[in-house]
Every structure is written in C-alpha cells, then in structure tokens.
C-alpha cells in the first residue's frame, strides 16, 4: 500500500538529463586535456591537469551556490564525474565551518567523500598484494 501511494521518480526525465549533463562535463574534461596537450604536456600529465581544473571549477561553483542547482537536474550526471567528488568535499567544509576550523571544517570535510577514498585505496592495496603474491613482480 505504501508502494502504491508513493510516486515513482521521473526516470524518463532523470536518465537523459544525467546523460546530457554528465556527458557535457566529460566533454569539458576532454577540451581541457586537449588544451594542456597543446601546451606541450605529455598525455598523462595533461589528463591530471584536466582533473585538477575540473576540481577547481567544481569548488568554485559549489562556493558560489551554483553546483547544487545544476545537480538538481543533473542527478548522477553531476555525481559520478570528479566534479561530484569535489562537491562532496567542498560542501561539508563550507557547511560545518560554523563549528570551527578544526573540528568543523577540517574534520567534516570528508564526511561524504571519505568512503570513496577508504574503499578506493583499500581496493588498490588488495590489488597490489594480489599482484605481488602472484609473483608478477
């Protein structure tokens, strides 16, 4: 009964919007990569600079109270790209500044994005151990 009364999410609108906005963020990333390559940077470094630039833009847009308004429409399109990771770091830092620079801003900065690092790094360490003990190195 609860299921029947609860409206479903508007997937017919959400999924194409996520595709469009997420795709545009990646296209911007591609443009930045090409730009840094044209400045003579090697492929890997250009890609890293592009990521850093996107993180910067996301932090700026989050600070200017714009990112959450794009995310209202973008959904996963603003969540999955690295800009979403940056937003998840910047927004609690801004929010919990009122509880102090150390225990507020500093401690709460990774309250949302922390798990990404915890499980990402853990997976990487396990991968390294598997490679090592398989005798690959």
């Amino acid at each position: 009964m609860t299921k029947k009364a609860s409206p479903n999410t508007k997937s017919w609108r959400n999924i194409p919007l996520a595709f469009l906005i997420g795709g545009l963020i990646c296209t911007l990333g591609q443009g930045l990569t090409e730009f840094y390559r044209s400045q003579g940077l090697p492929k890997d470094e250009a890609s890293t600079w592009a990521s850093v630039s996107l993180v910067f833009l996301s932090a700026l847009l989050t600070g200017m109270k714009v990112y959450d308004n794009i995310a209202k429409y973008g959904g996963a399109g603003t969540l999955v790209p690295i800009t979403g990771f940056a937003n998840a770091v910047v927004s609690p830092a801004m929010e919990f500044k009122s509880e102090g620079f150390v225990l507020g801003l500093g401690a709460k900065m990774f309250v949302i994005a922390g798990p990404v690092i915890v499980y990402g790094i853990t997976a990487a360490v396990i991968y390294g151990l598997i490679l090592f003990f398989m005798g690959a190195f």
Binding site: I15, F19, T27, T33, G63, P81, V90, M109, G120, A124
Partner: protein
C-alpha cells in the same frame, strides 16, 4: 569532423557512465554515497583486469573524468609502484597516483569554505 570525434566519444561514454549511475539511483535502494564507492571499486577492478585502459584509449576524458577513472588510476599507480618499489608499492601507489586530485579537492575546498558560506535552497 575529425576534430570533433574525441569530444563526441568523451560525451557519449562519459554520459553513459552517468546515465548508468542514474539508473542505480532511480531503480535500486543504493544511496549516492554507495554508488560513488561502487564506481571507484569497480574502476580499481576493471583497471586491474586491464579492461579499463582500452576504454580510456577510446574515450579519453569520457573515461577518466567519471569516478571509475579515479579507480582505474589507483590500480595503475599501484601496478607501477609495485614495479619500482616491490611490496611497498602496494601501499604507496594508490595515493601517489591520485595525489593531485585529492590534494586539489582539499586545497580548493578549504579556500572555498573560507571564502563562501552555504545558502538556503529554493
């Protein structure tokens, strides 16, 4: 046309990663935080198995900008560090490869928090 091809590929592949994420949000009980964790871990696994690099070669930023790309970067860094430092590389590789992104998020995050204040939603 030749010029636009990399952009189209980045748009299509990056968009597809995001659309898949939206499917998870709308049709499963997975919260956004869990989806991000799943994407990163999936990136490490796909990167480790050597499946992700061809996607990066094809789509460029369309594969590196989504968080799966972050995971693949962790795997790549670990593999390279293992070659250089042996077992210690299993611990240093992930952070070394992702250092720029994480440090940028921390630094710009701190600056943004110092300069701006959160506002009401409308």
């Amino acid at each position: 046309m030749e010029m636009l091809l990399p952009y189209l590929k980045a748009f299509a592949v990056g968009g597809a990663f995001c659309a898949l994420g939206q499917v998870f949000i709308d049709y499963t009980k997975l919260t956004p935080a869990r989806i991000l964790v799943a994407y990163v871990v999936a990136g490490v696994v796909l990167g480790g198995l050597g499946i992700y690099q061809p996607i990066i070669d094809f789509a460029g930023a369309g594969a590196t900008v989504p968080l799966t790309g972050f995971g693949a970067l962790l795997a790549k860094g670990t593999r390279e560090a293992l070659g250089e430092k042996g077992l210690l590389g299993a611990l240093t590789g992930g952070f070394t490869a992702s250092a720029a992104g994480i440090a940028a998020a921390i630094f710009f995050g701190l600056i943004a928090a110092l300069l701006f204040r959160s506002g009401d939603k409308s």
